[in-house]
């Protein structure tokens, strides 16, 4: 040390400068990344800890989290899809022009004359719609492993908000090509927004409280999509909603850390397959203590959720977790690119407000609603979706049992209850649809019936009523709120899937029933 100091003094300023120049690359690199290639426990920990992008993850990860069969990577896939969508979206913005005159042509230009434009557009479209599927699947995973419990209640709520945002982002993007398909889908959706009018009209309070027209005006600046709608839908799609979803996604991830990481079964024991990590779990704990101790967080919260939990089954995140994440990223990217290479995102004729597509359908993810809407505009458009969202928000607060958190389906009984709900809801829902298709509904029998009766009593509201009653019945029978929630959630998923499939495949021109799309009369 002394020698160095002496040298420093003796050397002239210029040679110091040339030395700095020589080591420039190393010092710049070091100041950015702080660590070299991590090959000690401490270095591995700090590789995560000191990195802005990685520090949202723990320096160590529980083995259970790394099991592919536990998370199925669904949340991560959703996040990577978001990244892909944002990236491809920025590139589409280079050529897209949000004006009624040019929008359609600029999309055609992206398809025809931009290098890789068609595939980029497909990637954006399919990754965006893939998010709906994977966010829903992720939600199902979180639900069935009971991961909305023990301090994670609010994060479940954030997740539901993210689901809504994904829906709205997809919807706003749907209008932008300004072709027949998107135009008429938006007309349908704007009418769905208008649907609270049915109730306010029946109650005679539309004059004072017209929430339907308000939301429609807010979203579309008019009764039908037009010049200004395109502008503001574009603004929502590329600016407002992405900002909001980034913030909520950030909160979602941050809460995972603060709520103690992923859930894991209480009685976790590693199996044979839990071995062979790039860096094996440190049994002796090395420089780290054997039990999680108090850290910085205690200043604010007294105790972190992990304090006193064993760290025996923890492995270093670097590189174990990062390899897993990279693999999922690459898998997602590859799947999206392959799908987009073969399947083109649809584009129809230039939007024509005078010729409706027949059938005019909402985007597929809203078709379940459109089916309900065909029974009652209010119930399908506002009543039932609101009720569903409320139900989803409240699930973690109404079911507070802390038993077997982190285990798929909780236990054997849970599996049975879920299976039972699956079978019952599939059979009954199909039965109701068959009935409604064959025999019609109240208005077909009593043409003079008041609208309010139909609003309240229709296949959609009866079905939702049944789901609620059944769940309450399950709670009474099993004495467990978790089991009731299980039935409720399974039936929600089954309804979404069946109604969406039914309205996509079996509803043709004039919303008539067809066994498949190939049976539609030629138009």
């Amino acid at each position: 040390m002394n020698e160095v100091e002496v040298n420093e003094i003796e050397r002239s300023g210029l040679s110091k400068f040339t030395d700095n120049l020589k080591s420039l690359a190393a010092t710049v690199f070091g100041s950015v990344f702080r660590n070299g290639s991590p090959n000690s426990d401490k270095a591995r920990a700090s590789a995560i800890f000191n990195n802005f992008f990685l520090h949202i993850q723990g320096t160590k990860t529980h083995i259970n989290t790394l099991r592919p069969s536990y998370t199925l990577g669904l949340g991560l896939i959703s996040f990577f899809l978001l990244v892909i969508v944002v990236a491809s979206g920025i590139f589409l913005m280079v050529y897209y022009n949000p004006s009624v005159e040019n929008a359609y042509q600029s999309v055609k230009n992206i398809i025809y004359v931009v290098f890789g434009g068609n595939v980029t557009r497909n990637i954006h479209k399919w990754a965006g719609e893939g998010m709906i599927i994977f966010v829903l699947l992720h939600m199902a995973r979180v639900f069935f492993t009971g991961s909305y419990k023990s301090g994670r209640e609010f994060n479940w709520v954030v997740g539901v908000i993210l689901l809504i945002l994904v829906f709205v982002l997809n919807l706003t993007g749907y209008l932008l090509p300004w072709d027949q398909l998107s135009y008429w889908a938006l007309v349908i959706v704007s009418n769905i927004m208008q649907s609270p009018r049915e109730l306010t009209d029946s109650l005679g309070i539309t004059r004072f409280f017209d929430v339907g027209t308000f939301s429609r005006e807010f979203f579309l600046a008019g009764m039908v999509p037009g010049k200004e709608s395109l502008n503001r839908v574009y603004l929502f799609h590329v600016m407002v909603l992405p900002l909001i979803i980034s913030v909520f996604a950030g909160i979602h991830f941050w809460r995972i850390r603060k709520d103690g990481g992923m859930t894991k079964p209480d009685a976790f024991s590693p199996t044979v397959s839990d071995s062979g990590y790039a860096v094996p779990p440190a049994k002796t704990a090395g420089i780290f203590p054997t039990h999680k101790t108090y850290g910085l967080m205690e200043l604010a919260r007294g105790k972190t959720p992990s304090v006193d939990k064993d760290i025996e089954n923890m492995v270093f995140s670097w590189p174990n977790l990062l390899i897993a994440e990279l693999a999922v990223l690459m898998l997602t990217l590859a799947a999206v690119v392959v799908y987009s290479y073969y399947i083109n995102a649809p584009i129809r004729e230039f939007a024509n407000p005078l010729i409706p597509e027949n059938p005019a359908k909402a985007p597929w993810y809203f078709l379940g609603l459109q089916e309900l809407l065909s029974y009652s505009a209010f119930m399908g458009g506002a009543g039932l979706p609101m009720l569903t969202l409320f139900g989803l928000f409240l699930i973690p607060y109404l079911d507070r049992e802390q038993y077997n958190v982190g285990t798929w389906f909780t236990d054997r009984k849970g599996k049975l209850i879920a299976f039972e709900a699956f079978v019952i809801s599939t059979v009954l829902l199909i039965g109701i649809l068959v009935f409604a298709v064959n025999f019609g509904w109240l208005r077909s029998w009593f043409p003079e019936i008041p609208q309010l009766v139909i609003t309240l009593v229709n296949p959609g509201s009866i079905w939702v009523g049944f789901i609620i009653v059944w769940s309450l019945f399950v709670i009474r029978r099993t004495g467990s709120t978790r089991m009731g929630a299980m039935s409720l959630f399974v039936m929600f998923l089954v309804s979404y899937v069946i109604l969406t499939y039914f309205a996509t495949e079996m509803r043709g021109p004039n919303w008539g029933f067809f066994w498949s799309m190939s049976q539609w009369p030629i138009h």
């Binding site: 090959n39 000690s40 426990d41 590139f91 280079v94 050529y95 230009n109 004359v113 931009v114 290098f115 890789g116 434009g117 980029t120 790039a278 860096v279 440190a282 090395g286 990279l326 690459m330 990217l333």
Partner: protein, 158 residues
Amino acid sequence: MTSEHQEKETVLSRRDFLATSAFLTATVAGFGIIAGFFRFFKSDVRYEEPSVFKIGKPENFPVGTARKLDDKKVFVFSDDGGFYAISCVCTHLGCIVHTSDNGFTCPCHGSKYNTAGKVISGPAPRSLPWFEITQDVDGSLVVNAGSEVPSGTKVKYS
């Protein structure tokens, strides 16, 4: 963790063919995507006046003509030596020059060119380029603003 253990592990991971090839492919894919993105930004089509354009039959440009074609940003001259076209875009910062007493003057920063387009004063770094003139099958003259010819190249057509 002992140092011996660490060393063994490093050797192991270096030899791990699977890891190496996996990361290598990922890197290749990453660079591929980045390259694709740069290519994506390069627009293949132009929404501007074509650089090759017809200006009319030779008869329309009798000897002594000096005409500025405003929309094409080019001067067309005809003298005893033949036809020639000189760009009217200043080589300094792209303003449009106008004819002055003995040559061209740029209104923006005062660059001056002589009648052949050679810089005589001002900040312009280069002379005004001369463009190729050819004759189309139907007899009309064609200026190719994408193809420069040496200063003083005049062509005769009839």
